[in-house]
């Protein structure tokens, strides 16, 4: 398994800066562990028809510092259950970023994304060319490259398979300076 180019529709645009992802399921539902139940309550306050409209491979779009606050895992568990394949945002809050990458959930930092896409546009997120393409409108923007470790974790499908790929005690090759100078992690 390796990270491949995501191709899907923009299922929703969270245009609020410093967006607290817990709002996706609502704080009162954050302790629900059953993913079916979580998926039922997800997005109700943003678009009550979201469940009917979303389909496998769709992508979420966020604003600057997406995931700020005290992010929990259930909101994106619910989103993955509904078929969402990844998130593209202007930029991310580090705690959220680290948590979702460790779940194997692709995240892409793309300054300018809010101006590039509208809801339901078809887009491509290319982690090899480091580019987000709007297929509906025929325009694109560069995205920030993933760090070596983040890319490896997404290639493996999350933290545990990533750690298993290198036997316990062994270290993956990550020579100092291997990342491009402009890489900012998110």
């Amino acid at each position: 398994m390796a990270l491949t180019t995501l191709r899907g529709r923009v299922a929703f645009i969270f245009d609020e800066e410093n967006f607290d992802v817990d709002q996706i399921v609502g704080v009162k539902n954050i302790k629900i562990t059953d993913v079916e139940e979580l998926a039922k309550v997800a997005m109700l306050s943003y678009d009550p028809e979201f469940h009917a409209k979303v389909r496998k491979g769709d992508i979420l779009v966020g604003a600057h510092n997406f995931g700020y606050g005290h992010p929990h895992y259930p909101p994106m568990r619910a989103m993955r259950h509904l078929g969402v394949a990844g998130v593209v945002a202007e930029s991310f809050s580090p705690g959220y970023w680290r948590g979702e990458i460790s779940m194997g959930f692709p995240q892409a930092s793309c300054p300018g994304i809010l101006g590039l896409v509208e809801r339901w546009d078809d887009i491509e997120v290319d982690f090899d060319a480091n580019e987000v393409r709007n297929l509906t409108r025929g325009r694109s923007l560069p995205m920030e490259p993933l760090s070596f470790a983040d890319r490896s974790m997404l290639d493996a499908g999350g933290l545990v398979p990533y750690l298993k790929r290198s036997a316990a005690g062994a270290q993956p090759a990550a020579p100092a300076g291997s990342a491009p100078a402009e890489s900012r992690n998110a």
Binding site: K28, N65, Y68, S91, P94, G95, G99, F148, V160, A176
Partner: protein, 418 residues
């Protein structure tokens, strides 16, 4: 070009000569710290065995576990979690600190805040060890990596340097300084970077105050905060240090992503209004707002200077009838010292409810609020539902403001009581 304290620490623990921001390295944490919490430690302990075939950690002295949440337990399930933690620590020969206080504070007391050390935890508030020149990061579930192998993958972060200058006025505390930084620099100003504090005003801020500021660093987007430890911080940390490490300091010509000067002279007490820690406001704009409860405690407060200022405000006065003031000293060491100083009796006589150290007030596990209730709090966070019902509200402020508000039952300016 010189190096930052962060680059120097990560160079040492990656064992490969100088490193610069942007480099990806495999670093060996000096200490791996966690508190027992469902979904974290219990899962790590299980995954170590079942997924990686590791029965025991190889260098138990590098690990420390704290039991500070769900203290005291209120359900059999919580106590079962603690039992599992105690067993794992005993089997692994790993230090367990139970009922000693909130782990991020106790970690400093018992010597994990070794100047120059690299520390990882799953919880980001461990950043407060940066007060002592320790590079301490919360890496969420990735902490598993530190349980199953010696080194963890990390990208050397850039640093934002903030130079503090000016003089703090009476009634203005370190807590206000932090929220002022969020307001002036922005909640994303240090994203994925280290917040390095310096400048001439730093020495005016107490060690306890610095623990507050560095402990809240995540709300600027920073992955941690650090200072170049001066004589006062070293005098605290070196005699307790768990490991012999030479302290390191940023070079004068170190390279920073940004340098900001922040003047503290005209700073007023602040309040952070719900529902996000990005909402710093002047306290003066919210005076008189009716409040039901007050919380003085958490890893971001509840230390001696906080208890002292609260006792000063409440000395000879009474908490307003019906107002629930909860005071929770952050560690047993702090609680005992407060007792010796007479602070506990002053606060109790004023009507405060005083609890032994526990994390549980901060996230609403106890003293849970119901819909439409409103609290002032020195806790870490004011997001919806943090201290109970999603329809309750939390106003974050300094300890003096919590005490003054308890007297009036409404947001009050503490300076008239000081």
């Amino acid at each position: 070009m010189g190096y930052t304290i962060t680059e120097k620490i990560l160079a040492r623990v990656s064992g490969q000569g100088p490193v610069k921001a942007g480099d990806e390295v495999m670093a060996k944490p000096d200490f791996v710290i966690a508190y027992d919490f469902p979904g974290y430690t219990d899962v790590y302990f299980k995954q170590m065995k079942e997924d990686f075939g590791i029965d025991r950690v190889s260098e138990p002295d590098r690990y420390a576990i704290f039991i500070d949440h769900m203290v005291p337990a209120t359900t059999p399930k919580e106590e079962e979690l603690h039992i599992g933690t105690r067993q794992w620590c005993a089997e692994n020969g790993v230090a367990l600190y139970e009922r000693r206080g909130i782990g991020h504070q106790v970690a400093a007391e018992v010597g994990y805040a070794t100047p120059g050390a690299f520390v990882v935890h799953f919880d980001g508030h461990i950043s407060q060890l940066g007060t002592f020149g320790t590079l301490a990061m919360g890496i969420r579930r990735n902490l598993l990596e530190a349980f199953v192998r010696e080194r963890i993958s990390i990208k050397v972060p850039q640093t934002v340097r903030v130079n503090l200058r000016g003089t703090l006025r009476k009634g203005v505390m370190a807590r206000d300084v932090f929220h002022h930084l969020v307001r002036t620099l922005g909640p994303a100003s240090c994203r994925f970077q280290v917040l390095e504090l310096g400048g001439p005003a730093l020495s005016q801020i107490s060690t306890e105050g610095l623990q507050t500021i560095t402990g809240l660093a995540m709300f600027t987007g920073a992955i941690t905060a650090i200072v170049n430890p001066d004589a006062e911080r070293l005098a605290y940390a070196l005699p307790r240090a768990k490991k012999a490490i030479e302290p390191v300091y940023s070079d004068p010509d170190a390279e920073y992503a940004a340098v900001h000067d922040v003047d503290l002279t005209d700073l007023e007490p602040l309040v952070v209004i719900p529902p996000t820690p990005a909402n710093s406001r002047n306290l003066s704009d919210f005076l008189g707002l009716e409040i039901n409860a007050g919380y003085l405690g958490s890893c971001a407060s509840g230390r001696l200077e906080d208890l002292r200022v609260a006792a000063k405000v409440l000395q000879g006065r009474q908490v307003k009838p019906g107002f629930q003031l909860n005071v929770v000293p952050t560690s047993q060491e702090i609680m005992a010292a407060a007792g010796r100083e007479g602070l506990i009796s002053t606060l109790a006589e004023a009507g405060a409810f005083i609890s032994s150290p526990s994390c549980d007030y901060c996230f609403g596990r106890i003293a849970t609020m119901t819909a439409n209730q409103r609290a002032v709090s020195t806790g870490t966070l004011n997001v919806r539902g943090r201290m109970g019902s999603p329809d309750s509200e939390i106003y974050l402020c300094n300890a003096a403001t919590v005490a003054a508000t308890a007297i009036e039952g409404a947001i009050a300016d503490p300076r008239k009581y000081l």
